[in-house]
Every structure is written in structure tokens, then in C-alpha cells.
Symmetry: C2
Subunit: 83 residues, 2 copies
């Protein structure tokens, strides 16, 4: 399944707790769209978030974020993982 890295440039008021809650919301929604949010990383200082996600296509990955918490990524890049 295609793999993507998404980038949220600046989530206002970002906290570790808010990121955790948003991720749980993604997990609750993603099954309906065949999406798997696999890993994510964040920085409270800048509000930056990176999500690694497997999805049938970019639109499905975006749809999960939109329905789960409304925080749609600023960029969504198709990627391959290097060995």
C-alpha cells in the first residue's frame, strides 16, 4: 500500500496531550478508509507534526485527518522508506 509522510507546519497551541488525542481519533476513524497512521513525531515549540501513514491514496489519508479532528496536513508526500 502506498506510504506517505505528511507535514503539519504549525499547529497552534500544540501539546503532547493534544497530539495524542488527535492520533487516537485518527485510529478510531481510519479503519473505514483502509488507512494506517503508523508513526508520528511532533515539536511543541514550533507546532510542527510529521505523520507516517499507509493509505490507498492521498485523499483517503487526508479524509481520515479531516473527519477525526479537522487538522489537515499542509503537505502530503508519497515516500518510500530507505533501507
Amino acid at each position: 500500500m502506498p506510504l506517505f509522510m505528511d507535514v503539519h507546519d504549525k499547529v497552534e497551541g500544540l501539546t503532547a496531550e493534544a497530539v495524542g488525542n488527535a492520533h487516537q481519533a485518527d485510529l478510531a476513524v481510519q479503519g473505514a478508509y483502509g488507512v494506517d497512521y503508523k508513526q508520528h513525531w511532533f515539536d511543541e515549540g514550533t507546532g510542527k507534526v510529521f505523520c507516517l501513514v499507509e493509505a490507498p491514496d492521498a485523499e483517503a489519508a487526508t479524509r481520515v485527518h479531516r473527519e477525526a479532528h479537522g487538522l489537515v496536513a499542509d503537505q502530503l508526500i508519497p515516500v518510500r522508506e530507505g533501507a
Copy 2:
């Protein structure tokens, strides 16, 4: 040890082979600086590369890239991995 995500916005002429070679060069250099390039993802279409790296500080992570292959990241963000 601090964790960082770096972003290379557009590596000209990027290929999977070139990324693999650059990563091997990082691995050969990083031990001298206590750095660990853990995972990386890339997109040949856009030339984008993301590297997840543990390092004593940002400068050490950058130094490894500079000495190994000269491709220094455009951004280097301190991150925490979400659960």
C-alpha cells in the same frame, strides 16, 4: 538522546540508489559524533527526503551529513515520537 526530523526540500536528481549511498556514508561517519540516523524516507518525484536522527545536538546531526555527502538538510526539527 535528543531526536530530530530533518527535511531536505529538493535534492536534485534524487534516486533510490543515491539515497542509499548517502545513508551508507552517514552510517560510516556518524559514530565519531555519537549520532544515529535511524530511519529515512524519500520521494524520487519531488526530491524530498526526511531523516529521523538521534544526536547529542542539532549541530552534530548536521555535521555528519556535511562530512558524509555534503547534502545538509533544509530544516532540522527537534521532535518527540508520539505514542
